[in-house]
Every structure is written in C-alpha cells, then in structure tokens.
C-alpha cells in the first residue's frame, strides 16, 4: 500500500472531490446496512445493554457464511504450511519447509491478483473473482508441488511419516500413507472411504507408468480438490433433526477458527483436537481459541487486518516535497518507519494494554527510536531498547498518527481524510458521486489560492447546496484534522507556496468543526483530539470496528439472519466491562463453536 495522493485540491468541482477519493452522493443516515451493527429488532446502532433484551441468548449461532474460495493470501499460507514440518531447534519449535520452495513460490507469484475491485471494499476476501487463469494457476502450482513431493524421497517421508524407498514392494502403501497424512492436512479432515478409494484408483491408474507418476497425480488432485480450494463446509450434522440446519463438524470448526485467526490451515495441534473430539467441548474449544490468539501467525494476521482496515501505507517516497516544507527532516525511507510506528502502537494497545477502541483512538503512547520520526512528532526519541515515549497533547491515538495523515505533496486533503474516517471508522456508506459541473457564474473560482487556507478553499468549492448533500458528512470530519500537515506534524499555521515552490505566507488553521459523527450529535470539537474523543465515544465507531473485524475474519459479511447476534456479541465484547479489542477477537472466534450452516 502506498501513500495516497491528495490531488483533489487542484480540481474545480465538488463532484470531483468526492469522485477521486471514493464517491459521494450522500450517506444513508449515517448507517451502512451491510456493516452497521444492528439491534435484533431494528436497524439502529447497537447501544450497550441492548443485547440483554435481544433474541441473541445463549445458543444463538453464527449462520452460513457464503462459500468462497481461499484468497491468494490464505492459499499461499496454506501451501507453505502443508509443505513444512515442525522441528525442534534449540528447544524451540520451528516450522521448516521440506522441499525447495523457490520454484513453488515462483509459480505462486503468477496467481492472478486478488483485491477489492473498487475503492468501496477494504478487504481482499470480500470480493473475489475467479476465472480460468485462477484455475490454471492452481493446477500449475499443484503440478509443481506434485513433482517436488514425488521425486524427493526425503520430503515424502517427512510429509507422510513413511519412508517409501524404491525397493518397496507395496508402493500402494505409500499412497495410502500420503492420503492419511498429507491428504488429511490438505482437506483439513480425514478422507472418506469413498475419497480414499477414488484417490487410490487415480494412483493405480497413473502408477502403471511408475510409482512417481501415481504420487504426482494424487498430490496434484488433492491440491485442486474443492475441499482445499474452497472454504467448503459439507460435513456437518443436522441440528435437532432439521436437515436444513447443519452444525459444523469439529474439523470444520477447527478450519473456520484457523482461517479466522491465522489466515491459514489448522495447525497440527488444532487438527489433533478436532480428531480427538476435544473441540466438541465448549471449554476446550475456548482454550484453543486462547492458544491460537497467542500464536505469531495470529498476530501477523491481525496486523494485516489493521493494515487493510486503515489502509496504512507501507512504502512511499516523500523526497519530492518542498525543502522549505520539510524543514530539515530527513524523509528518506521514513514511510516504512511511520508504518512500523503505527503498527507498534496498535500492537501495544491491543496486546499489551488489552485496550479497546477508546485506547486506540486516544492513547498518546508511541514507540519511536528514529530521530526523524521523533522530529515529526515533536518529541525526543526513545532508545532502540526502550522506544516507548509519550506524544504531546496535540496528538491522540490512531487518527493523529503520521502514517494516516501522509500525503505526497504539501497540501492536505481534508476530503480524503474525512472520507477515510466516515467509511473506515464509522462504516458509513458514501454512494458514488454524481458528476456535478459547477459553472463559474454559479461559483466563482478563487483567483489566488495562496491567500486562503486549504479549509477555506474546500469550503468554498463545496459550498453549493448540491455539493453539501455529500460534503456535509465529509468536510467536518476532515477539517478537524487540519491541525496536521501532510507529514503528520502538528501545526497551528499552514504554509502557502507559490507555483515556484516559494513560501509566500503562513495562515492560521482552523480545526473547529461540527463533524456529525453519529448522525445525532451536533457537538462542536475544537481540534482532532476532541474529535477523536467524540469518535471514540460513539457507539457507531465501536459497532463499525466490530463489523470490520467480522468481515475480515470470516471473509464476508454473513447474512443478516444470524449476523446480528454475532455483531451484537462482538460489540458487547468490545465495549463491555473487561472488554476490548482482544475480547472482540476472542468472542467472535468462540462464536464459531456454535456455528451452523443453513441450507
């Protein structure tokens, strides 16, 4: 992800401002029907305590999640896990590949790219396309792996637990071992008798020309099976005799849990617990959730959630910024540092403080050892060993972190900033923008923009009533962050430059705003810190975080019928006493125990 380019400033019509950034016609009463956490009986925002009177009592379940294939991220994680085994190295369990991964990684790099097809979707799993090139890529990858496994006796033994030397008399025993070990890991469950028979028949047919050909065929077929390519759940049992409702099998629960928390296959321990029946016990299931939450893979998967949710830039080049504007700050390579600083902060709030959204949006803790980053924030850097510092009172939480305020020129885009908060943090729908043309007779252009602050310019450009239909919900949020420049530095004055890059004047910035955070409150905030407090205090933002996590962890928004209970419980986990973001993760994962599929 790169630094967004706030180029809207140069544009002449209000429609363009919205169009470049996301889209806008107006938002639906501040609520996104697809994401808004709702009370069971209505469409309003959930408020604490509502759940007590809801229909979401004990036993209500997560219902059907629409079938989708694995994302490339999940698929490649799964392949890497399948081809690795855990070894003890110096007393530490380490996962090591058993085959040369370079050619396999090479073929996997040819997978057609996943990703949202529009700017309105945050997560890669939400809108997946599949065409012939995906199917072809899956076959090519599977064939490459099949070649590796079939021609490497050492790798075969490590993956199956059975040596299969050339001298073996009963080579079909090797195929059986492959199915019961590697095959069960691929399909995330033991193979049925019918499946075993089919694969053995495939082996025998191909092995007529040699054992290796038989193994190749079986491995390639397994890795293209729908049970591997898709999040397929077809092993459940009817609930209370109702054939239209299936309770997930233990293996399916394990799989859903693993992908939700780690973005990959169940590990050996989780599969073993599914096999032993332990996962059928609620307490044991919950303990397994707790175990998974501590895994590095889970932390990485959750870090990726924050990256996608907030679109945290990972790289970018700020060297083209005006030297006067930079004021001596060395920006070479600073974007990854700011990204890391943001992730360190999130990790601290989530995992160390066990905080909630309030902490995320208000905490001034930071982890800064880099002098340039410290300079941006106006603080003294900590040491590499002890990087934690306290930011000045001019900053508060996530929305005032430099990584989320960056732009690639000297002029801020309050519209882009407002859209980010409106969409990502509050889950409001911003419909596609109309193409509105504004005639100069209707709205005179500003002759000399260097005389006005960015806020004033945008206020003017979006001042027509038909522009305000959208911008009334965007501008206020964006203007609140005008106290930070495009490097994320706090400022009380905005530097104005002429076309030659010469500073011509400084103008005081105005960060007072009525942001209309939740559609009900019309309170004014004086600056971004106060605005962040308003957002943090809104149930809407809490509901939104819960909804975003559910979408990310399940790969889609489940249908409304069961989703409301899940969202309600997630909301309570996030906001209730003892709650927090980790509790959000824990609760939504634990809900999988109750998961059912509706046919």
């Amino acid at each position: 992800m790169q630094i967004p380019h706030w180029h809207a400033l140069r544009l002449g019509t209000c429609a363009l401002l919205g169009q470049l950034l996301v889209a806008c016609v107006g938002y639906v009463d501040g609520a996104d029907a697809s994401k808004q956490a709702t009370s069971p009986g209505g469409s309003g925002t959930i408020t604490p305590g509502v759940s007590g009177g809801s229909s979401c009592g004990v036993g209500a379940a997560v219902e059907t999640v629409p079938l989708r294939r694995l994302t490339n991220y999940e698929y490649t994680n799964a392949i890497r896990a399948l081809l690795s085994v855990t070894t003890l190295e110096g007393g530490v369990a380490v996962l090591r590949p058993v085959v040369d991964m370079a050619p396999i990684e090479g073929v996997m790099s040819a997978l057609p790219k996943d990703g949202p097809v529009d700017n309105l979707t945050l997560f890669d799993a939400t809108q997946l396309r599949t065409d012939d090139s995906h199917v072809l890529s899956h076959f090519q990858i599977a064939s490459q792996i099949a070649n590796s496994v079939a021609t490497d006796a050492v790798a075969f033994e490590k993956l199956t637990g059975q040596a299969c030397p050339e001298t073996s008399v009963d080579k079909s025993a090797c195929a059986k071992a492959l199915l019961s070990s590697f095959g069960a890991r691929v399909l995330r469950r033991p193979l049925s008798a019918e499946e075993q028979a089919n694969y053995l028949e495939l082996y025998r047919s191909a092995a007529a020309t040699g054992h290796a050909a038989g193994i190749k065929s079986v491995v390639a077929s397994l890795l293209n099976a729908p049970s591997f390519i898709f999040h397929l759940e077809d092993q459940g049992t009817p609930v209370a005799g109702d054939n239209k409702r299936l309770a997930l099998s233990a293996y399916e629960k394990a799989t859903r849990l693993a992908f939700a928390l780690t973005g990959s296959l169940p590990d050996a321990e989780l599969l073993a617990k599914a096999a032993s029946g332990e996962l059928d016990d609620l307490q044991a299931f919950n303990l397994e959730v707790d175990r998974l939450l501590e895994l590095p893979a889970t932390r990485a998967h959750i870090k990726r959630f924050f990256s996608q949710w907030l679109k945290i830039p990972e790289n970018g080049d700020l060297s083209a910024l005006n030297r006067d504007f930079l004021a001596g700050i060395d920006v070479a390579g600073i974007v990854p540092k700011l990204s890391a600083e943001t992730h360190d902060f999130i990790q601290h709030v989530v995992w160390q403080e066990r905080g909630g959204l309030e902490a995320l949006l208000l905490s001034r803790s930071a982890f800064i050892s880099d002098p340039s980053v410290a300079q941006l924030y106006g603080v003294n850097a900590g040491s590499a060993q002890s990087p934690q510092v306290e930011l000045n009172a001019t900053h508060a939480g996530l929305l005032t972190r430099a990584a989320l305020l960056l732009g690639s020129n000297e002029t801020t885009s309050p519209i882009a900033r407002g859209v980010r908060v409106r969409r990502h943090i509050l889950c409001d729908v911003l419909a596609p923008p109309p193409n509105i043309n504004v005639d100069e007779k209707e709205l005179a252009p500003i002759a000399d923009e260097s005389l006005y602050t960015t806020r004033q310019i945008f206020e003017h450009r979006t001042s027509l009533p038909r522009c305000q239909a959208c911008h009334v919900s965007i501008n206020g949020l964006g203007f609140g962050f005008e106290g930070y420049d495009t490097l994320g530095r706090f400022r009380s004055e905005e530097q104005k430059y002429d076309s030659a890059g010469q500073r011509v004047r400084s103008l005081p910035v105005d960060t007072r705003t009525v942001a209309n955070v939740d559609g009900a409150s019309a309170g004014e905030s004086q600056d971004a810190v106060q605005l962040s407090k308003m957002i943090a205090g809104s149930n809407k933002a809490q509901s939104c975080l819960a909804a975003q996590w559910i979408e990310y962890s399940l790969g889609s928004q489940p249908p409304e019928s069961g989703a409301s209970c899940l969202r309600e419980r997630a909301f309570t986990a996030l906001t209730g006493q003892g709650g927090g973001i980790v509790e959000l993760f824990r609760t939504t994962a634990r809900e999988i125990y109750l998961a059912e599929k509706a046919l």
Binding site: M1, Q2, I3, H5, H7, R10, L11, G12, T13, L16, Q19, T64, P66, L67, R68, S109, A110, G115, V117, N119, Q127, L128, R129, T130, D131, S133, H134, V135, L136, S137, F139, Q140, S143, N198, Y199, L202, A206, T209, A213, S217, S221, N224, I229, F230, L232, D234, G236, N243, N315, D317, S319, P432, P434, N435, N437, D439, E440, P445, K597, L599
Partner: protein
C-alpha cells in the same frame, strides 16, 4: 464471490480443444496451413497518466494543409530522425505506417472531471460515473461482436484482453454496469489457453501418456465437483458457486483430450515458443515481449482479430504493488522509482525524470508490438500484418497532474488493408480553434470520440451497430456535458468521423 463476466458458453467455447501443457512441449503442436489473409484486425494499446506533450509530439514541426480537408498534415517520412524523445527509435522505421493525431479533446467528460476515468478511452463514456453517464462497451468489444470483423462467425476468442494492470480500458456491459473485460497477464497461461489443444500428430507415446495422466488428474478433480453437486449438505447458493468453478475445471480438462478442433497453424511450427515462462517474471520487458508474441501468434493463426493491450498503470491503492514492481524494474543507479507512477504523474514536472523514463518505456512497448506485427502476411503483395491491421495507441490523459483531457495523444499504426491513410501527422489543433479555459471549464475543440467513431466506421460498422445505449441522440460516446462545458459541441459533430483518416 463473483465471477468474471465471461459466460459459461464463452469459457467452454474458449477452452474447448485447448490443452494444458505441464511441461509444455512445443513439438506437441499440430501444424497446418496459415490462416487466410484478413484485413479486419484491431489492437488497442492503452495506458494512463498522460505524456509530456512537448516530448511526445515532434518538435518544431511545420504542418501543411493538404487533402483539401480541414486538417493540417505532415508526412512523417519527411521528418528527420526520431519522431520525438518519447516516440523514439522504435517508431522510426515505421513512420510511413503510423498516424499521429493531435488536437483531440475528450468531451465525454469535462476537461478535468473524473480523475482517471478509463471509460472514455475506448468507450467514449464514463466508467466511474455509473449513475448518470450512458453505459457502453468499448470499441474493441463492439468490434469483437461485429460480423464486419468476423464475417464467418466468431472465432474461438473473439476478443482478448492482455493487461498487467488491475484496471484496463476495455469494457463490456453486464447487469447494467460497465465492467472491465477479463484480462490475461501470464504469457504461459495465455499460450496454454490459446494453443494448448494443439496436439501434434508426432506426439511420442511418452508425451501422450503424460498428457493423459494430467487429464486424469483434472478429471478426478472435476468428479469431485460433480459429486458435490449431488450433496445434500450444500446450499443452493454454494452449489452455484461450485458449479461455476466446476465449469472452469471442465474447460481445463478439455485441454488434454484429442480434440478434432485443435489449432492448425503454420506459425506454430518449430519450438520458438518453448521458453514462455510460467512465472510472472521480474523482467517485465521479457514478459511483454512474450505476451506480444502470443497475441500476434493468436491473430496469425486466426484465433482472434481483436485485442486490448493494457500497459501498466496504477490508479488505486489496489494496484500499486503490481505496478510498483513493474516500474521499479526501470530503476537505474541514477534514477529510482520509489513511489507509484500515479503519484509521479501528479508530481508531473516535479518527477519529470521518472515520468519521462516511464513514458519512453511505454511508447517503446507500443513500438515493439507494432514492429513485431510488421512482418509479411501476404508474400504476393508484400503486405504485412501491421498493414492489414489497425493499432490504436492512446493515453487516458494528456497531462497527469491535473487530469487534463484535451489534446489526447493518439498514435495509429497500420492502415487496415487500405481503409485508413497512414504516414501522416494530422493536427486538428489549427483547423478548429482549440482552447481549454480551465477557469470556466469551457472547452472548444475536436471531440476525441470522433476518433473512436472513425475506427468503428473504418471497420464498416454503421451507427446503428455501435450507438450508445441510453443516448437519446444516438451515436457513440457520451455528450452528457455538452450543454455546459462544451457549448460548441453538437451531437452531429460528435458522430462524424475525423477528416483525413479514412480513405
């Protein structure tokens, strides 16, 4: 999940008879007669972010009135040296087969509206605005559906889109929305898709065994999907998802069978194509080289007459990791690509070294494609494939930093078997007053849509065959904004072909 907008029939038609080759063995290709000469090929090469006009157009040129038409022209062959620093050495040998157009203005959108709206480039309407603008297919898609291009019925692949970018410029309309055409980016996969079904008569027993083994693997997977269709534990919605995937697997399976419709094409002989890589190589020049070869081979073998080639862009955060990598391969010790080409385009003169380098590379790719196409097709007349084709190389913007769309840079290659004049620089700027008053968003000029209309008419399509759905005035392309931003625009002029192009 949703699937690309190709129909089931499209896939089954498209994949029937193709054969996956792992490893691919060129000797497996059955050879045959070359396809008959055709003069109905169209290639659209598109890219984004604008060009430095002073470096794109020939410098210090003097145009002369000719043709007795309201257009000024300069024979390119009389221009010394390279055409410009961007249209460099690659184009120089092709001067007499090129046409440079200048002075065309996008009036489907305001001069700066819509940011990077890829819709107007080939469809003449807005892709971004799916609400008020008329929705329409791009000209390549229209041509691929036309009996004028395929008088004997559509071939296996009426339309191909090759695009390493997430957003291309080729659009069809599905469910009332403009959607980008599915695109291919992997030379190996594209080759397999097109030619995999060509099974050589000289196939060795070992090769045949391996092919059938792979076919059996695919069949076993297909059987898995079939069994699931009968499962009582799958919802109707899930069954549909699996069914669509199963059809893709079915298409793959057909690549392994002995298909009587396997490709017969003299150009497939030899092993010149044995080196296509499975992997998306970091050497993007090589990758484009291979993609171009496969595309041209497909046209030579009569598999398609219409191709969209999307050159890499970056427009949304979704695309940047791919495109960053592409442009980073242009790094030199003195010149680094540290951010997206999109960001550089907005820095414009502030990132002139990077943008100029990128524009030269992109133009070089277009020139390379045309040069590859410029091999003799008809030995009796000496006509080349390029002569019998029309290549349209066009940028989405004229200037990236402020999304300007006046003076859209267009290069045409070939003459479609004599349907188009070539070898000239046609400058419409001085024929019709060309101004853009940015302050008022007023635009006066020659509508770029007319270039699209000219192409369509050059292929023989009538207005009734290409008119834009939802346009009360008919014709092609949108004139939604004509009343305010384009006071001089008339529907009639929008619908006229450009003077000086068609013979």
């Amino acid at each position: 999940m949703y699937f690309s907008n190709r129909s089931r029939r499209f896939f089954l038609q498209g994949l029937a008879g193709a054969a996956l080759a792992l490893p691919f063995l060129p000797s497996m290709i059955r050879t045959g007669q070359a396809a008959p000469v055709t003069k109905k090929r169209f290639f659209a090469i598109t890219h984004d972010h604008g060009v430095f006009e002073e470096a794109w157009f020939p410098p210090n040129y003097k145009v002369a009135k000719d043709y007795a038409l309201p257009v000024n022209q300069l024979p390119l062959s009389t221009y010394p040296g390279d055409l410009s620093s961007i249209l460099g050495a690659g184009f120089t040998p092709l001067k007499d087969k090129l046409t440079l157009l200048r002075g065309l203005d996008c009036m489907a959108l305001g001069p700066q509206e819509g940011g990077h709206d890829q819709g107007f480039t080939l469809a003449g309407t807005s892709f971004r605005d799916q609400v008020t603008s008329p929705k329409g297919k791009s000209i390549d898609v229209l041509l691929s559906e036309s009996a004028h291009v395929y008088p004997d019925g559509p071939p296996r692949f009426p339309h191909l889109s090759v695009c390493m970018s997430y957003v291309g410029h080729s659009f069809t309309v599905k469910d009332g929305k403009m959607v980008t055409s599915p695109a291919h980016a992997n030379p190996r996969a594209l080759f397999d898709l097109l030619f995999g079904g060509g099974v050589s008569d000289a196939e060795t027993p070992e090769q045949k065994t391996e092919r059938l083994r792979q076919g059996a693997v695919v069949h076993s997977v297909f059987s898995d999907y079939q069994r699931l269709q009968n499962s009582g534990r799958i919802s109707a919605a899930d069954r549909l998802v699996l069914q669509e995937h199963m059809e893709l697997v079915r298409g793959l399976e057909r690549r392994f069978v002995d298909d009587p419709n396997a490709v017969h094409c003299a150009d497939l002989s030899g092993d010149a194509y044995s080196n296509y890589t499975n992997i998306i190589a970091k050497d993007y020049d090589q990758r484009y080289d291979q993609l171009f070869d496969v595309v041209i081979l497909a046209t030579k073998c009569g598999l398609t007459n219409v191709v969209h080639l999307g050159l890499p862009t970056s427009e949304t955060s979704n695309t940047t990791d791919v495109e960053d990598a592409i442009y980073r391969h242009l790094d030199t010790p003195d010149l680094k690509f540290n951010t997206t080409i999109h960001s550089y385009s907005h820095a414009w003169q502030g990132a002139r070294p990077q943008m100029l380098r990128a524009q030269q590379w992109l133009a070089g790719l277009a020139a390379k494609f045309m040069a590859k196409l410029n091999t003799v097709e008809n030995s009796a007349t000496g006509e080349t494939y390029l002569d019998n084709s029309l290549v349209m190389y066009v940028n989405n913007l004229s200037q990236g930093s402020s999304h300007l769309r006046y003076d859209i840079p267009v290069v045409l290659g070939g003459n479609l078997g004599g349907r188009f004049r070539s070898g000239n620089f046609l400058d419409y700027t001085t024929a019709v007053q060309h101004t853009v008053e940015n302050s008022g968003n007023k635009q006066v000029g020659v509508d770029y849509t007319r270039a699209l209309v000219t192409v369509l008419q050059g292929f023989g399509l009538s207005e009734a065959e290409y008119q834009q759905p939802g346009m009360p005035q008919g014709g092609f392309g949108s004139d939604q904004r004509s009343s305010k931003t384009h006071p001089s625009l008339t529907t009639a002029s929008r619908r006229d072909p450009l003077p000086g192009l068609l013979t």
